[in-house]
Amino acid sequence: MFAELFSIVFQFADVFAFLILAAAGLAIIFGMMGIINMAHGEFIMCGIYVTVIGVQNGLPLPVAQACGALTAGLIGVILERTIIYRLYDRPLDSILATWGISLIVTQGMLVTMGSSWPGIGTPTGSFAVGVYTFSTYRLVLFAAAVVVMIGIYILFMRTSFGTLARATMQNPQMARALGVRTPRVYAASFGVGAALAGLCGALYAPTMTLIPTMGITFIVEAFVTVVVGGSNVLLGTVPAAVVLGVIRTSLNAWHGQIVGQIGMLIAVILVIRVLPEGVSGWLARRAR
């Protein structure tokens, strides 16, 4: 009985971590700047490849993962300063532009790096509960998801950068009038979002097949979580991940992955119908 219970909790934590890590970067970029970043998967892929190549060149895994996240963040800042900043008032164009970037990057990777890359293997370590055995690394992923959420909270609620970022988000003209260098805030926010996408890739790198299009496997979950969560990453993403995680885990356990995926997508349709601004929009309206 305990084993069954533990298994359910473990699987929920696993799905929750995947949703949070996949969505965090996308949620920040969407919530902060209203940009729907179609190249989100490619930032994830960047984190993955940098991590794997780092490990294969002798770096310890955590160091390589940090490099993966930082590289993605750096590329995010550069991209914001060269392309994205032109598109702040043109949301549809920003979708097209970031989608174009995504296509260029995946095909460019295919041409330069080949169609596959040898994996690095998950750090060893497993434990047994009853008949079930679990990979310890999955707990690391869950812990990372929790840390990322706490980190986002501290960054946006407890630092001066967070204050400036929220001010810019709420009223860019007023923020500028009060002396906030909004372009820098935008670049930094985009960089943070990209770095979180890179971190997601870095964390999942040891557990997956490496191909240039692998970012796509995170995209559905990332967008679904952001749609359900709404534009406020702090209020929306965590409840969204909890709700979707519970739905998906229970349906997966009940009748396999197809039902799990169908259930998750139906939940999204219902949420869009009932709460068009997502969970965070609903919470914010109730608070008012």
Partner: protein, 414 residues
């Protein structure tokens, strides 16, 4: 003197004309044979499509260097459908209608093949499918060069039951290949005295398998039948190894097709078994020679997989058919197949096209992956005919139903 040189010029002109006249019909005979090729070299299946394109290119180069087919050079028109079935259809129409290709080759997934067949049938063209697949297509327009369940599963499943046990859990991709091969697995397991105690179909593109792994542990099978498809679903192996699932596995598509043992860190693929007509570790003189030629042209190939090999063989198969028929006409070629003597010497040995089903006989070997991901040949089955379609009543020399049959969908008895 002057007159003389004029006569000479005149003569030269005449002879040039005469030569042109002599050359003209010849040049018409020299028109290239056009082969339309549809292989994904971008998208999720690029890692499988790339070796397929390479196989076709290698065969093209070799055949053209030795004078082409019936003295005609061959031209490969390759389009990349990017794993999109709608594009497969669009490009197939383009190749047939605009480029007027003599034959269409390619397609990776069974979904793409089934997208192509109606178009090929309407245009009444010859189509060569080069992958191993779930079998059962009885279609006069299609020649299948890959292996089918009676070659791969009727051999693998009884051996796995005897070696590891009767209780089996199937993990399969949720589309026609996965569903039909899972059906084959149930059918053949019953005959071998085993049973499927659990099966799970996974949507394409899913990469997280925590729950699946636990469902398997709960069911306690003796071994796993792995029918997962695509790079995302391959992540199962890494995640199962990390969770110490440690179960023997069998599959008709792993190792020789997706070279997972080259892509994952050992020992993720340990104890995986497959039955294949080709895998790069085959060590016969003909295979060694073939691998040397391939590596000379494509030194960076990660793995020469069975799809790439089949794509190479398909070109020689077509050469043999056209040269025996002395024509690229589909009906003339089908008459050659109907004789039962449509055979070539390939790197795996002598293989022939079965007249009833237009599928290919193959030399099948059972391979196993060790902890260090080296591959050993466990059993050599010799040449196995693609007999199943013929047994259930498909005979393309008599009737052409253009249907795909399965154990649960047999032709109606007359």
């Amino acid at each position: 003197m002057r007159k003389n040189s004029m006569t000479r010029a005149l003569l030269a002109g005449f002879s040039a004309l005469a030569m042109l006249a002599a050359v003209a019909p010849h040049a018409q005979g020299q028109e290239k044979i056009k082969i339309g090729l549809l292989e994904d070299i971008s998208g999720d299946l690029a890692l499988l499509g790339m070796p397929k394109l390479h196989g076709s290119q290698l065969a093209l180069e070799e055949i053209n260097a030795k004078g082409g087919i019936m003295g005609r050079q061959i031209e490969l028109i390759h389009l990349d459908p990017q794993g999109d079935n709608a594009r497969y259809q669009e490009f197939a129409r383009r190749l047939i209608q605009r480029d007027k290709v003599d034959v269409l080759i390619g397609g990776i997934t069974s979904a793409s093949r089934e997208a192509l067949r109606p178009i090929v049938n309407r245009a009444d063209k010859l189509y060569i499918y080069t992958n191993q697949y779930e079998g059962g297509v009885c279609d006069g327009n299609m020649i299948s060069v890959g292996a089918v369940p009676e070659q791969q599963l009727s051999t693998l499943i009884p051996w796995m039951v005897e070696k590891f046990g009767k209780r089996v859990y199937t993990v399969a991709a949720d589309y026609n290949f996965g569903q039909l091969t899972a059906e084959w697995t149930r059918d053949l397991l019953k005959k071998a005295g085993g049973e499927v105690i659990g099966q799970e179909f996974i949507p394409l593109g899913v990469s997280q398998f925590g729950q699946t792994i636990q469902n398997i542990q709960k069911a306690k099978p003796d071994w796993l039948m792995m029918l997962n498809v695509g790079a995302a679903q391959d992540s199962f192996f890494e995640q199962a190894a990390a969770a110490k699932l440690n179960l023997p596995m069998g599959s008709p598509i792993k190792v020789m097709l997706g070279f997972e043992h080259k892509r994952f860190k050992p020992p993720a693929l340990e104890n995986m078994h497959a039955v294949a007509n080709w895998f790069e570790e085959i060590d016969t003189p003909a295979a060694r020679d073939f691998k040397k030629r391939w590596r000379a042209k494509f030194p960076n190939e990660t793995y020469i997989n069975d799809m790439g090999y089949n794509a190479y063989v398909a070109m020689y198969m077509y050469k043999m058919l056209v040269e025996t028929a002395k024509s690229t006409d589909k009906n003339a070629i089908r008459k050659v197949i109907a004789t039962g003597n449509a055979c070539i010497d390939s790197p795996e040995g002598k293989i022939c096209i079965d007249p009833k089903s237009q599928h290919t006989s193959h030399h099948m070997r059972l391979i196993g992956v060790k902890a260090d991901h080296s591959v050993e040949v466990i059993k050599d089955f010799g040449v196995i005919q693609p007999y199943w379609l013929g047994e259930i009543g498909c005979d393309l020399t008599k009737a052409d139903p253009k249907e795909q049959y399965a154990p649960s969908n047999l032709p109606k008895k007359k």
